[in-house]
Amino acid sequence: MKTNDVILRTVTKAVVFIILTFGVELFFAGHNSPGGGFIGGLVLSSALVLLFLVHDIETVQQGIPVDFKKVAAVGVIFAVGTGVGAVLFGAAFLTQTFGVFHLPVFGDTELATVVLFEVGVALTVVGTVVTIILSISEDV
């Protein structure tokens, strides 16, 4: 049976956009207010889930031609890698540092290695959630 999804799709476009922005915002806000890698990642993946729900797998995959397993793997490598990175700098495993830098455009900006770690977390979350959902759906 054909289904008329025009309303849904139209709304989704806007909604996904909002979610993605919001997810990114949550991700970066994490250090100082609620949010962070996990939540950011989860929100991002929920945006993807919404896409899969509204459209079908193949359409979405045409739009985002990524192997999410590898995304997840890259995420893990990031997360573990920051730990190893600290070792390379002679600090204890998983030592995070932060500092306030003066950047030309942004002014005084706080940068922390923890962001890299959080990127790893977020990537893994996105990759994993999407992998799980895709795997199940493809089994149909």
């Binding site: 949550l26 994490g30 250090h31 100082n32 207010s33 609620p34 949010g35 962070g36 890698g37 996990f38 939540i39 989860l42 929100v43 993946s45 929920s46 889930v49 729900l53 397993k69 997840a72 793997a73 995420g75 893990v76 997360a79 573990v80 730990g83 495993f93 998983l94 995070q96 932060f98 500092g99 706080e110 922390a112 923890v114 770690f117 959080e118 790893g120 977390v121 893994t124 979350v125 990759g127 994993t128 959630v129 992998t131 799980i132 959902i133 795997s135 199940i136 759906s137 493809e138 089994d139 149909v140």
Partner: protein
């Protein structure tokens, strides 16, 4: 001079080399190479005789596991020398014999490897001073015996016998090990010598008797003492040279050795006397009684071995009285029992070895060992007959064979028990000589059966598989040597007495300083005056002869009443019962149902945790510190409770997860109320994604069915569930009422200074406890990839898996 260490190692080294020699020199019978080993060792050991007789002992230590007190200490004294000579001497003869006995088609390589392993292990047992090393070798003898019994492993009986012997001897070995461990606990050393040296310090220790009993268990199982003797007849499935060697001359005597060795330590204890001599006598009696009913010659010899071992054992028991009584001129009398035991030990090896070889020859040449089919072989196999005659008469205790001498000494020792007042069993004391005498009569009878039923009577060639003929010369050498020894020892017993027995006695009774008193002069004739032993022997011969004549009349007694009771049947029955009942039990509780398993787990949880909470009284409530409650929170809690309870009863799966979703979202709200913004966010997202997953998977899953369980199990589930809930709540409340310390989290409130983050939870996740987060990411990742593989990798129908 050959060191003792080398003596132990050479057989092992040879055992390793044998497979190679066997492979590369297939034409010459491998036995000839093997034969070199025991002969060399025998010669080497013989060279020790003079110095040992002079009271010398040799000791050498190589550390093995010093941290555990286990060191490879070899110790040579009179007692171990006797055994060493027996092992290597009889070993040489048996190997010589086996070269002719076993055909080239058998896997000789294996055979000799096992035999050498055994020889090495046995030497290890007798030459080790460290109890743990002794135990190592002890078990090794059990194993090599196991392998030898099952040499013809395709036969079911062989396997059965092998298993039986292994189970019984290893169990005994374990008991012995515990005994040793207990000794260690008392004295702090595994060295037998040091234990002996420390004697007196620990005889009152509560573990002393336990250790004694356990060590004895080891000895009894190994030496086939009643009721552990049942393995020995079945061990006769082994090739005859093995039976002659392991199951008559050496391995079974390891138990005797152990008893002799530990008499010095334990002998002073009454229990030791009762156990050793009592069990010994019982075995003597039971073995001889049962020997008569056997129709298989080897089985007959097996029972006779059992009975003879019992004899030796009981003598050692008597000998221990000397230690119990302490050093005095009276008690020295009792040491003669020990002397007799050692003497009989040697004699038994000679005549029993010869007899086994004879039976082997008969079996080999005629094709059967069944006395009912044998008869009249005397003229066909004259040499074999002579050897058999010598062996049997010696066993029966007739002159002029060595068995007579030791049997006389045995009677003498037993007669001493009449005057025995050391342990205040005067009235019971007379039982000893009586039992001994009756057993000797039976011994006489079965000795006659061996000789007369095999070699006299009617020859029945049609009932035999092969035509009877005299054995080859090579095969006769070994038994002949033993037969010569049987006669020789009778005429020159004191050579053995002075050179071998004397130092052994000194080893057993180190507290008795005067060794000469310990070694009586052995003589065949004690004069007429008060010669009770001789009278007893005469009685044995007369009654035994009468009984033998009338054997066909009373043999049927064996098939009445209690005689049918059989420890073998008990053993088989219990093994079978054990297996079937274990299957029943295990199948019962390992039902394969998840629900049952979960019930066990919760049951245990309620039992252990609930039990301890109730018994220890750990609960104490204190709600004064509680945060205030708002009405809306109460309503929410109620809503959640209702939603939760309804999950159980709803008939539709979607409703169930809807309700679960309600729970999840409400918890998110509570997280908000409890000031946990990050948690609220995460909870909401995770809840939604989980719901989506449920819905995705529901495509493949069926709608909920009504629970088919019976009502009672539902009630049980309910009870378990409610009690688990209550228990969790009670403990949680008690914990809240019982805060012992402040949390460490105060530290994290400096997060901004420490990490530059203002969201404390996030700094904990990303910095303080980043490792958790890292691993958590890994967990998530594994789950993701796992789901992928689980779905993608399906065993296709009909396709045989890689393995399965």
């Amino acid at each position: 001079m050959l060191t003792i260490l080398m003596a132990i190692l050479i057989p092992f080294i040879a055992a390793i080399l044998i497979p190679f020699i066997y492979k590369f020199i297939p034409r010459i019978n491998i036995g000839w190479f093997v034969l070199v080993v025991p002969i060399l060792l025998f010669i080497g050991l013989v060279r020790y005789v003079p110095s040992v007789a002079a009271g010398e002992t040799y000791i050498k230590t190589i550390s093995w596991i010093p941290s555990a007190g286990i060191n490879f200490t070899t110790y040579l004294d009179g007692l171990s020398l006797i055994f060493g000579l027996l092992i290597t001497g009889v070993g040489s003869l048996v190997i010589l014999y086996s070269i002719y006995y076993l055909s080239d088609r058998e896997s000789l390589g294996h055979f000799y490897v096992y035999l050498l392993l055994f020889m090495g292990a046995m030497l290890g047992v007798v030459f080790s001073d460290n109890m743990m090393v002794l135990y190592v070798f002890w078990e090794l003898t059990s194993i090599s015996s196991f392998l030898l019994i099952a040499f013809w492993y395709h036969r079911k009986q062989s396997r059965y016998g092998a298993q039986k012997s292994l189970l019984i001897t290893v169990t005994g070995g374990l008991a012995m090990l515990i005994g040793f461990v207990m000794l260690y606990a008392m004295t702090g050393t595994f060295s037998i010598r040091e234990n002996i040296a420390a004697i007196g310090d620990f005889t009152n220790h509560p573990l002393f008797v336990a250790a004694l009993v356990l060590v004895l268990l080891g000895a009894f199982t190994k030496s086939a003492q009643f009721p552990f003797h049942i393995w020995l007849p079945d061990a006769m499935e082994a090739p005859t040279p093995v039976s002659a060697y392991l199951h008559s001359a050496t391995m079974v005597k390891a138990g005797i050795y152990l008893v002799a060795r530990f008499t010095t330590i334990f002998g002073g204890e009454e229990v030791w006397f009762y156990a050793v001599s009592g069990i010994g006598l019982l075995t003597l009696f039971w073995g001889s009684l049962n020997a008569i009913r056997q129709t298989d010659l080897k089985a007959l010899l097996a029972y006779s071995t059992i009975s003879q071992l019992g004899l030796v054992m009981s003598l050692f028991g008597l000998g221990s009285v000397a230690l119990n009584a302490g050093v005095s001129s009276d008690s020295i009398l009792y040491t003669q029992a020990t002397f007799a035991a050692l003497f009989h030990l040697i004699n038994h090896s000679t005549f029993k070895g010869a007899l086994f070889m004879v039976v082997g020859i008969v079996d080999h040449n005629v094709g059967t060992r069944d006395v009912r089919r044998l008869g009249g072989l005397m003229s066909l196999m004259p040499v074999t007959f002579s050897i058999a005659l010598i062996g049997s008469f010696s066993m029966a205790g007739l002159p002029p064979f060595n068995g007579f001498l030791s049997k006389e000494m045995f009677f003498e020792a037993m007669l001493m028990m009449r005057d025995f007042d050391v342990l205040s069993i005067r009235s019971l004391g007379t039982i000893f000589p009586i039992v001994a005498w009756i057993a000797s009569i039976f011994t006489f009878v079965y000795s006659m059966i061996i000789v007369f039923q095999t070699f006299f009577g009617e020859h029945q060639p049609d009932r035999l598989d092969r035509k009877a003929h005299e054995a080859s010369k090579g095969m006769l050498i070994a038994p002949s040597v033993l037969a010569v020894l049987v006669v020789g020892i009778f005429f020159f017993p004191n050579i053995i007495g002075n050179y071998l027995l004397r130092p052994a006695m000194a080893a057993i009774y180190p507290t008795f300083l005067d060794v000469d008193q310990l070694t009586p002069h052995i003589s065949a004739w004690h004069g007429l005056k008060n010669n009770m032993p001789l009278l007893m022997t005469i009685g044995v011969v007369i009654i035994g002869f009468l009984l033998y004549i009338s054997l066909h009349r009373w043999r049927s007694l064996y098939s009445v009443g209690p005689m049918l009771w059989n420890l073998d049947t008990l053993y088989n029955w219990s093994l079978k019962q054990m297996e079937s009942s274990s299957t029943a039990i295990t199948n019962y509780y390992m039902s394969g149902h998840l629900r049952d398993y979960l019930t066990y787990i919760f049951g245990f949880f309620l039992f252990a945790v609930g039990g301890s909470l109730v018994l220890l009284g750990g609960f104490s409530f204190d709600v004064s510190n509680d945060a205030p409650i708002l009405i809306n929170e109460v309503i929410l809690v109620l809503v959640m409770a209702i939603a939760a309870v309804c999950i159980v009863f709803v008939p539709s799966r979607v409703t169930a997860i809807l309700l679960n979703g309600v729970l999840g979202y409400s918890i998110a709200l509570f997280f908000v109320i409890f000031r946990a913004p990050d948690l609220a966010l995460t909870q909401i997202v995770v809840e939604t994604v989980t719901t989506a997953l449920f819905l995705l998977c529901f495509y493949f899953l069926p709608e909920l069915k009504r629970e088919k369980s019976v009502r009672s199990s539902k009630i049980l589930n309910g009870i378990i569930a409610i009690s688990a809930g209550v228990l969790v709540t009670v403990i949680a409340l008690s914990v809240q009422g019982n805060k012992l310390f402040d949390s460490i989290s105060i530290y994290f409130e400096n997060a901004y200074e420490l990490t530059g983050g203002k969201n404390i939870v996030n700094t904990i996740l990303g910095d303080f406890r980043a490792f958790d987060t890292m691993l958590e990411v890994v967990v998530l990742f594994i789950a993701g990839i796992g789901v992928y593989t689980l779905i993608k990798l399906k065993a296709r129908k009909g396709e045989r898996d890689v393995e399965d």
